[in-house]
Subunit: 216 residues, 2 copies
DNA sequence: TCATCAACTGACATGTCTGTCAATTCGAGC
DNA sequence: GCTCGAATTGACAGACATGTCAGTTGATGA
């Protein structure tokens, strides 16, 4: 096997020597993904058929199955790609954060920033009107349990009232993030990016260090 | 038309003189609704067929359509009933509250209480795994915009920092309520009812009067 | 006992989505 | 120009959900 053997990566390497056939195949595949993204965002998973996607991409119905086992496979690829990107974005934010307050704000900014630049994907992942609801939880669950862990340690050291349960608060954060981001991505004129970030940050910080916080 | 003509009400009047046929009809209808609730809660709207519901209720497929125009009609009836009940419960809580803090806690208690006693309905209305997602928003939207209005007036009188945007906060509350309640209703051993209520209350109060609150 | 009628039955016609496959197109190499 | 094979085509068969309807059941009351 050569070092430069062809990859399964969804993104074809443009610098590699490719045949016209390979290029055509990659183009068709990309078109199908793009059409899937557009249609799923607009109509939701179960109101879009594989034939719809093929037609929107300008290829025959059978071609769809030349590239994807079934509709679920294409959907999975779209959402996995989105979630990977989002996860990376959040992890980068987590690493760059120094103190806790700053970290919270940076993660909120990463989430909101991602939402602003990937509105179709957010619509697919989080919107009430579409159906990726089973998928969404993983990233957020991670974020929330991280937040819950921090919160737990704050309780243990006594700097947080026990009335706020870490698990419940974690779920509350997940719900809040998903909803706010979906709402905002639907129409980003509804609020400025900064206000959204700031509100999410404040809620999380106030929930964490209530009452006896330094005023900002 | 007689004063006592038969009604379209889903709940038959037991004190009225009824024929055996009418009683049978009401029973069948109730069975279908009950089966729908069970199956929708377990499998979600679009993985349950009208024939499934009929079979679960122990009647023939055609009987379903003797009682409901179609699957959507039965689903609507289930969710409407649930939402009406929930709304009433929340409104009762809103009326009984005297001061703002108390009102917040009472509405949270009403929501959580409803969730504990109607776990199937909550699962249908709010769970990620089912599909009533379009329906859920109305009640919560109302709750949230009420909360947002109060919050706006607090901003206007200067007792709340402007960083927290009322609209965004309203969406955050909706998301938080829906998620927490769905999570808790799935397994009520996850946290005590009191802890859930208290956490929701704290988050909302802290979000409203941050930093310079009286400590509880 | 019998006629009536609403409730119920379940086979079926209809429409829709899915995934397949034999035939066709088209670029690459000879 | 010709052959090979990968990519594509689109008609089609199978699976399934939906809603209907002619026929059956059983309570009612004459």
């Amino acid at each position: 096997m050569s070092v430069n053997s062809s990859q399964n990566s969804p993104i074809p390497n443009p610098s590699a020597r490719t045949t016209a056939g390979e290029r055509a195949r990659a183009t068709t595949r990309a078109r199908l993904l793009e059409s899937g993204r557009t249609l799923f965002a607009e109509h939701g998973l179960h109101r879009v058929t594989s034939h719809d996607i093929a037609a929107h991409a300008g290829v025959a119905a059978g071609t769809f199955y030349n590239h994807f086992r079934d509709k679920a496979a294409l959907f999975r690829e779209i959402t996995n790609e989105a979630l990977t990107e989002l996860t990376q974005s959040l992890e980068a934010a987590a690493e760059s954060g120094t103190d806790y307050r700053q970290g919270v704000r940076q993660r909120a900014a990463a989430l909101v920033g991602f939402a602003g630049e990937n509105r179709e994907l957010i619509r697919i992942l989080f919107s009430r009107e579409t159906d990726a609801t089973t998928v969404q939880s993983d990233v957020l669950q991670q974020m929330a349990s991280r937040a819950a862990a921090v919160r737990k340690s704050l309780i243990d050291e006594g700097s947080m009232p026990v009335e706020i349960d870490p698990q419940v608060f974690g779920q509350a954060l997940i719900g809040m993030w998903a909803r706010v981001v979906a709402w905002w991505a639907e129409d980003t004129d509804r609020a400025s990016r900064e206000v959204v970030i700031e509100t999410l940050t404040q809620i999380q910080l106030n929930g964490t260090h209530p009452a006896h916080n330094d005023p900002l």
